[in-house]
Amino acid sequence: MPSAVRTPGQGAALDRRFVDEIRATTVGETRLETCIQCGTCGGSCPSAADMDHTPRMLFAMARAGLRDGVLRSNTPWMCVSCYFCSVRCPQEIHIPDVMYAIKSIATREGIAPESIGADFSRTFVSNIHHYGRSYEVGLVARHYLRHYALRLPGMAPMGIGMVTKGRMGFIPHKIRGIAGLRAILARAGELEAAAQGRKAPA
């Protein structure tokens, strides 16, 4: 874990509006400012062991304005969206939705370019842009070739199984309304940028 993230040195730049930026990016309420640091999220998280920071600590950092530290943390990428934290949080903070927001800011700013998670998301999304549906074979093949070439031999039995049992379709299904879908997604992108531009001035 990068120690500089946890203890900013003298003069570390704090971004006091970072919480506002997260709020503007999150769909639905964040309620991040009401966090009482009880640790229910960090205690509940099934993948906490692999996180740089527990969600609780990430929120404390966000509120302190450690923008860079939060955006570089692997914590949101380790979130599995199981919503245990969400239903248990005594302050009803929509934690997974906040994690999506942090990931999208990090991706937009290219802060997590090497992240496997971000790349997986991009591959997945590019499939959607192409076909309108998920294309499992293309997704898995590309993803494994890029990141887990060494894992491929170990994966072979499973892959073969999936194919022989007819669970992998080789021909992607393209929806008829793909042009319309692309238009919708393009418009959503514009609206999102506009909204964030208004709410979170640089």
Binding site: C38, C41, G42, A49, T54, R56, Q91
Partner: protein, 691 residues
């Protein structure tokens, strides 16, 4: 006609309060003052002043001097809510010789400065409300408060420590008390406890003498195993119905020897006094020190009531006191005042699924632990696992279960931190176990509380700052826990910033306090209000913390909200003191807000007759007119609004007053020209109501 009867021309004084900056920070008080003089002059305003604190003695003197020197016959004070200072300013008027009911309070704080931010709009609204007040007060007539005698007897509902205290204080002062308790014995939750924090006094040792005194006091009538079913009347003169559930025995004959309980063959789990971890018989006394000493028979679990045979208790009772055919009995009591000390219920820990209560055997609630640690409890004071024999080697105490959580209760239950630390001490006292306290914040603000926190730390209790996420028996690794059956407490140690899984043998959930399940129903029955959760709302949270919004009904103990024993005792005594003060006045002055029927105009249609829930309206068949009994009338005004002949007038809230207020409020709201388009912009002929 009294000397205060309005002269032909009303002479109104207007006083605008700054309330420091509370009002003046948002409302331009000087502008309001000048505006009143200018625009309301034609409506009778002869003087308009502003002052930083109208409720101060100097502020009140301003009013008194003006009444005397300028001959005011009406006063309007634009300040806070009438629920705050109406009495204050009425008093000022009275001192200056003006009938106090000729004073009108206009709320420009709660309704203007505190709820609006735009200064211009707030000032305009203050002016509009003030105009409403002036036009309303013009129509007001002098009134005299009604005097009613006050019944000396008091009803105390709930026989826990708060109710017992209130009952004893009043009884010791020489006045009769009826103490009603739903359970078979008085004593409440305190009787279940072993020790009390932070002094570790033995709960039974300090409570039992009080229970015995209450049980034998010549001025206290106990109604245990009973409930209040109906409350009628008003302050000073309540009529209360109390249902005595059958104990199935004749208390005149029963000596409390306990043979019936001993011989009863039906043994069932006691979910009330033993919190579900102990047993009782079908005929039982919940605990040895119970007051009164008589047992009760629980027909739901009695073999005779189920199958028609057994009657062991009846056969074996040495005095022949058992009465298996006993029926419920309703008694009617006349009381002048009421104390509600209905207490709390423990939060149902099953609701927090993640903690596994009910699913995982060795997860206990705080009430279960209280009974377990009690020497007279089901385990004789042994701290053991659910198997009844094994002493735990590690105990986790979990704070804030059902409290400080928007999924359950938002509030802090106030007593759990201290109670949890008391548990840690008791575990250490009874066993060699390692004790963990899992907390969010330690709240120990009472006398000697923080010292107790330090003492428990000194005793070796391990404090981990983190709200427990879950308790599970699913091991991640075979060697995660040393023995089978152990539980894992999964938590973020927030001070270390990492997730920990701590194996323990026993988990104690420090459950929060909740209002009684029927709190809303009880509030309705007694005509008081409670919060959405169910806690009784005080007349004023700070300055009148044991009175309710309803005259003559007081509250004490945890019915008002979570609190510890000393605070419960203090509120019980405070309620008693308030009541004693009233009893000693012998009579009460009631607000003269009543309905009055003009017999000349009453057509005898009887439409109003069925509308009154207080039976204040009767029909005189001889005269063929309807009459209102002013002692029974509560002043709601439904009959006034319903009377097709307009024959019923309401003192204090007459049609003329209300129509005047509406007129005033809207007069300057940009709708002034409406009058030109309507036939009659003026209120209808005022219905003067003589006092």
């Amino acid at each position: 006609m009294t000397p205060n009867e309005p002269a032909d021309s009303p002479r109104v004084g207007v006083y605008v309060c700054h309330c420091g900056t509370n009002i003046a920070g948002t409302v331009d008080v000087a502008a309001v003052r000048d505006w009143a003089m200018e625009r309301l002059g034609p409506h009778g305003v002869v003087v308009s002043r502003d002052y930083p604190f109208m409720c101060s003695s100097l502020g009140q003197e301003l009013i008194e001097d003006d009444i005397r020197e300028l001959g005011l016959n009406r006063v309007v004070v634009a300040a806070c809510s009438p629920h705050m200072h109406e009495k204050t300013f009425r008093g000022a008027c009275e001192r200056a010789g003006l009938n106090p009911y000729l004073c009108e309070l206009v709320s420009i704080r709660e309704q203007v400065s505190w709820v609006h931010t735009d200064k211009v709009a707030a000032t305009a609204k203050a002016e509009a409300l003030l105009a409403g007040g002036v036009l309303r007060v013009r129509e007001q007539v002098p009134l005299e408060p009604m005097r009613v005698p006050i019944n000396e007897a008091t009803l105390v509902v709930g026989g826990g420590i708060a109710g017992i205290t209130a009952a004893l204080e009043i009884a010791d002062a020489g006045f009769p008390v009826h103490l009603v308790e739903r359970e078979p014995s008085i004593g409440g939750h305190m009787a279940q406890f072993d020790k009390t924090f932070p002094t570790l006094d033995c709960a039974a040792c300090i409570l039992t003498p009080k229970m015995v005194t209450a049980g034998s006091h010549p001025n206290i009538t106990l109604h245990t195993w009973s409930e209040v079913t109906d409350v009628a009347g008003y302050v000073g003169n309540f009529t209360v119905k109390v249902l005595h559930r059958p104990r199935y025995l004749d208390t005149d004959l029963c000596t409390g020897c306990g043979i019936c309980q001993e011989k009863c063959p039906a043994k069932v789990v006691d979910p009330v006094f033993e919190a579900g971890i102990g047993y009782r018989k079908a005929i039982y006394r919940p605990f040895p020190q119970a007051v009164p000493k008589f047992p009760v028979l629980d027909p739901d679990n009695c073999i005779y009531f189920e199958r028609g045979t057994c009657r062991a208790c009846e056969k074996l009772c040495p005095t022949g006191a058992i009465r298996l055919d006993q029926q419920p009995e309703e008694v009617t009591l006349q009381v002048g005042n009421i104390v509600l000390a209905t207490g709390f219920e423990a939060f149902d820990a099953r609701r927090v699924e993640a903690y596994g209560y009910g699913r995982l055997a060795n997860v206990f609630t705080s009430l279960e632990f209280e009974r377990m640690s009690n020497a007279s409890g089901p385990t004789g004071g042994q701290i053991v696992l659910r198997d009844g024999v094994t002493e735990p080697k590690t105990v986790a105490i979990v704070h804030c279960v059902g409290s400080r959580d928007r999924n359950y209760n938002k509030y802090c239950s106030a007593i759990c931190c201290m109670q949890s630390m008391k548990f840690a001490h008791l575990v250490r006292e009874h066993t060699d176990a390692t004790v963990y306290e899992f907390y969010i914040d330690i709240r120990a603000p009472g006398k000697a509380f923080d010292e107790f926190y330090q003492r428990v730390q000194d005793e070796g209790t391990i404090f981990i700052r983190g709200r427990v996420a879950e308790v599970t028996d699913v091991l991640r690794m075979p060697d995660e826990a040393a023995e089978d059956g152990r539980l894992i407490v999964q938590v973020e140690d927030t001070l270390a910033g990492l997730q920990r899984r701590i194996p323990v043998d026993m988990v104690v959930l420090s459950v929060g306090l909740e209002p009684q399940a029927d709190a809303h129903e009880v509030a309705r029955r007694f005509g008081i209000t409670c919060s959405s959760e169910g806690w009784v709302i005080e007349r004023h949270p700070k300055l009148d913390p044991v009175a309710t919004m309803t005259e003559g009904v007081f509250a004490a103990g945890c019915a008002l909200g979570p609190r510890d024993i000393p605070a419960s005792v203090a509120s019980g005594a405070a309620a008693a003191a308030r009541i004693l003060g009233r009893i000693q006045q012998r009579e009460l002055a009631l607000e003269p807000i009543r309905a009055v029927i003009d017999a000349e105009r009453c057509s005898g249609c009887r439409i109003c007759n069925d509308l009154c829930p207080f039976s204040a309206i009767t029909f005189d068949a001889v005269q063929a007119v309807t009459e209102v009994n002013p002692a029974l009338c509560q002043g709601c005004g439904v009959c006034i609004a319903a009377c097709p002949a307009g024959a019923i007038a309401g003192t204090g809230f007459s049609d003329a007053q209300i129509l005047g207020q509406i007129e005033g409020i809207l007069m300057f709201s940009g709708a002034a020209d409406v009058g030109a388009r309507t036939a009659s912009p003026e209120p209808k002929a005022p219905e003067a109501v003589p006092a």
